[in-house]
């Protein structure tokens, strides 16, 4: 009775949770292109798409994706054999146990007329599958805690998932062992099923069962004479053998049984069977209810994601379906960390201390975003900068075992973030190359130039073009020897050799591209060098030319005095980005902000 109630409660929670999740697939908007599309449109586009696929050759593509990537998991195999073994054992073991053991009344019993859980092959298989899962869990723990795979973060949801699975499996094995051990259980079965009342036969049966089946009896104990055992076997074959294979077939449960034998009486007294049963059942039900709210939801979302990815593409599909696909992809993420393992920007991650440079961290954040609402400005800034520091190399996309098109996800997320008011100076770098290539497409849906203007204004400080304000000028304060000593940029070796020949400006192709260079660019290269010579590094730092420098090194190549102009420009740019947008400072702010939010909204940065 209790069992049914608990089962139905957890099933309800599971169904409602899944329903809510599926709804978010049609309501969640990622990227500017998705915002104008109403959810009803997305639902109808999805239904149309599904019908079209179902009645066309595309269904083969979907089936292939589902089978090869969803069941056989060949994408994981491509990445690493160890991971594939880990996941296949977990997946196959757990799924088969779910279908054939937990749902045996609905499935196994209907498929196999002679099914009984204690008869082979089911008896053996149940243990075998359970051990498979434990092997998988072992490898998972090995990877996370001993091998310490780089950039693979282990968070609470990961620990909960591993722990829950472990509890279910271990409690199951203990339950099995305890049931085999229990005299109470044995006697109940004898009452229900024994074909004889004869005391001698019953005693023989019990002896046989102590010998072969692991029962701990207070009445009989080994060693048993052969005649007893053969009589016992006869009775067994009449009453019990139809449903019972010898216990050692369930090798793992039998193992726990043998281990528990010394404390059999104690276990009997505390009704160990009931205790283990409750733990096992409760763990399963908690697991069931927890699925939609945990990373285990990927069991449902990833196959759906794989199927959808197989038939949509970002160039040609209905934008409504693309929006839905990206929402599904967020749930399809299993937090496996492969994307971060292969990310090209590992160097940036090492030094800039911004976790959102790593794709898996961005995913984790996006997934949490659904639950905790709008993040604070410091967190947003870290996310925006982290998402922009990406060379768009596509590696994360190629290796993702869940088939998520991470590249398009980042492009959407990035565009969302830079379209907000806060500027992103990292945009003024070759990280914007792909955006430039995609300009014609972007211009259809977003304000392409707005984020760039905001970034420029932010780095220049005194006007969008970086021109010194016209009109009256204050006399420029020159720094004394004390100040210059502190700043490496103002060291003599950088510009002391400059004698103002202006070759740098003369050979600069950017300068040559303007009819009136001073008007178009503001301070020119030789003027920026002169600023440094005069100790006016702030003014040099706010020159627009820095960001229009095409880094072709003509100036540095042709400077007759060997002044490293392009490299000095790089140093000035680094300064501007770090002084205004120091990632370390920002992360400290984010942590402060996080503490002030409620527990639910907390952003667990590492």
């Amino acid at each position: 009775m209790l069992f049914s109630i608990l089962f139905y409660i957890s099933l309800c929670i599971f169904i409602l949770g899944t329903a809510w999740k599926v709804t978010t697939w049609f309501t969640r908007c990622i990227g500017p292109a998705s915002r104008g599309i109403p959810s009803s449109r997305r639902v109808s586009a999805a239904l149309q798409g599904m019908l079209r696929t179902l009645f066309s050759r595309k269904i083969v593509v979907v089936a292939a994706a589902f089978f090869l990537d969803g069941i056989l998991q060949r994408r994981i195999l491509k990445e690493s054999v160890l991971r594939w073994v880990m996941h296949i054992t977990l997946f196959a073991g757990f799924m088969l146990l779910l279908l054939m053991h937990a749902l045996d009344e609905w499935i196994t019993m209907r498929l196999f007329a002679e099914y009984s859980s204690t008869v082979n092959p089911f008896f053996f298989l149940r243990d075998f599958l359970g051990v498979l899962v434990l092997v998988g869990l072992g490898i998972a723990a090995l990877r996370r805690f001993i091998l310490k795979v780089p950039r693979l973060k282990t968070r609470t949801p990961d620990r909960i998932a591993l722990l829950l699975l472990a509890i279910i499996m271990v409690s199951g094995l203990l339950l099995e062992g305890a049931k085999m051990l229990s005299h109470r259980e044995y006697q109940q079965m004898v009452e229900d099923y024994a074909d004889t009342d004869d005391a001698e036969e019953l005693r023989a049966l019990e002896s046989y069962w102590v010998q072969e089946f692991g029962v701990a009896s207070p009445d009989v104990s080994p060693p048993f004479p052969d005649e007893t055992l053969s009589l016992g076997r006869e009775v067994h074959e009449m009453s019990c053998a139809y449903c019972h294979a010898p216990s050692p077939w369930a090798f793992a449960g039998y193992g726990t049984n043998r281990a528990m034998l010394p404390i059999a009486t104690f276990l009997e007294r505390v009704h160990a069977v009931l205790i283990f049963w409750h733990i096992h059942i409760l763990a399963c039900f908690i697991g069931l209810a927890y699925v939609p709210f945990s990373k285990m939801f990927h069991i449902l979302a990833t196959p759906v994601g794989l199927a959808v990815s197989a038939v949509t593409d970002f160039e040609h599909s209905d934008p409504a379906n693309i929006a839905t696909r990206q929402a599904i992809e967020l749930d399809a993420c299993t937090q496996c960390g492969t994307c971060s393992l292969r990310c090209s920007q590992v160097g940036a991650f090492e030094f800039l201390d911004n976790p959102y440079i790593l794709p898996s961290e961005r995913m984790a954040y996006l997934c949490r975003l659904g639950r905790s609402g709008r993040p604070g400005p410091a967190a947003l800034e870290a996310l925006r900068q982290g998402a922009y520091i990406c060379s768009n190399c596509d590696r994360c996309t190629v290796v993702c075992p869940a088939g998520i098109n991470l590249r398009e996800l980042w492009i959407s997320v990035r565009e969302d973030l830079i379209q907000e008011e806060a500027p992103e100076p990292v945009m003024l770098s070759p990280f914007s190359f792909l955006r430039g290539l995609r300009r014609p497409v972007l211009e259809r849906t977003v304000d392409y130039g707005g984020p760039l203007s905001r970034a420029r204004i932010a780095v220049l400080g005194n006007g969008a073009e970086g021109k010194p304000s016209s009109g009256e000028r204050e006399p420029l304060p020159i720094l004394g020897p004390q100040e210059t000593a502190k700043d490496p940029l103002l060291q003599a070796e950088h510009f002391a050799h400059c004698f103002g020949c202006r070759t740098c400006t003369t050979v600069c192709p950017v300068v040559a591209a303007f009819e009136d260079p001073e008007d178009g660019l503001g301070l020119l290269p030789h003027q920026i060098m002169a600023c440094l010579g005069l100790g006016l590094q702030d003014m040099a730092g706010r020159a627009g030319m820095l960001w229009d420098c095409v880094t072709c090194y003509q100036c540095e190549e042709h400077c007759p005095q060997g002044v490293r102009i392009t490299d000095i420009f790089y140093t000035l740019k680094n300064r501007v980005i770090q002084e205004g947008w120091n990632p370390r400072q920002r992360l400290t702010d984010t942590r402060e902000e996080a503490k002030q939010q409620t527990a639910e909204d907390r952003d667990p940065l590492p």
Binding site: C343, S344, L352, P430, F433, L437, V510, T551, E557
Partner: protein
């Protein structure tokens, strides 16, 4: 037989696969062996604007990985080449940076070596393989084809660091073009930057610089612009397409990557060289 660790960088696998495919096809025929290293990551070039140490670490990590393999690096992208050379130069002279980065690499089981050989594809073809060997393999000389060799900037300058070629009068690229039987014509703005570093940052300026180059190549009568860098190739291709779709389409010369040109003259099939994939659509790639 020469063996190199192939360094592809970020742009080629994602957006310019023909460069990789053509290079493998051509080097295969020349008996050059390429070793792939899955752990190679970004050379650090885009990080130069953002943070010097992040850039140095990114470059140094790749150098350390090549050191681990015990091979010279063969680099296809000129921006990668320039940034790896620059990093080597800085690390050789700045002991503090060298120690810091060396320590961090050690934590990851790698040893920093700022002295390993880093070579661009063109240098390998010109110096290691040699024009004589190349000429032997040319079965279909591209006689009559007029090509403007785009030397560009990041491999060439600063010349005392990259040591790629003479900075004022470079010859390597021209010699390699002529090996195929084509004529490498002289043209203005040969040594100018293609403008790619500014695409997405200042599109007007970037396009103006590129257009200038395309116009000069056309004026000199070139049939093709030859590149040896994915950024240059993408920049010329993209801007050329945009100009042709504009109101006043000028005569713009189609860009081709050097291994495609060489492969063409060596009789390698066009499909392998990916020539029809030039004029690449930057929105969709074949990666997925």
């Amino acid at each position: 037989m020469n063996t190199y660790a192939l360094f592809l960088g970020c742009t080629i696998p994602a957006r310019v696969q023909p460069y990789e495919n053509a290079t493998r096809a051509v080097l295969g025929k020349l008996g050059v062996r390429l070793v792939d290293c899955r752990d190679f990551a970004c050379c650090g070039y885009p990080l130069r604007n953002v943070d010097q140490r992040a850039f140095l670490f990114s470059a140094a990590r790749n150098l350390a990985l090549a050191n681990h393999l015990g091979l010279e690096m063969l680099v296809l992208c000129k921006c990668c080449f320039g940034s790896l050379k620059a990093a080597q130069h800085i690390l050789r002279r700045d002991a503090a940076a060298r120690n810091d980065i060396g320590r961090r690499l050690q934590e990851q089981g790698l040893r920093l070596d700022a002295d390993i050989e880093v070579k661009h594809l063109l240098s390998v073809l010109r110096h290691d393989v040699g024009p004589a060997t190349l000429k032997e393999k040319v079965t279909r000389p591209l006689t009559g084809l007029k090509v403007s060799a785009h030397v560009g900037c990041h491999a060439l300058r600063p010349s005392h660091i990259t040591r790629f070629d003479d900075p004022v009068s470079p010859r390597i690229f021209d010699e390699l073009v002529e090996v195929t039987g084509a004529k490498s014509i002289q043209w203005d703005t040969k040594l100018d930057c293609c403008g790619a570093p500014l695409l997405g940052v200042n599109d007007e300026l970037s396009t103006a610089l590129t257009r200038n180059k395309l116009d000069m190549a056309s004026k000199a009568g070139a049939d093709h612009l030859c590149t040896a860098c994915p950024y240059c190739q993408l920049q010329f291709d993209t801007v050329r397409q945009r100009l042709r779709e504009g109101n006043d389409p000028p005569d713009v010369v189609p860009p081709v990557l050097y291994p495609q040109l060489l492969g063409w003259s060596m009789g390698i099939e066009h499909k392998l060289l990916g020539i029809e994939k030039n004029a690449m659509d930057p929105v969709a790639t074949d990666a997925i």
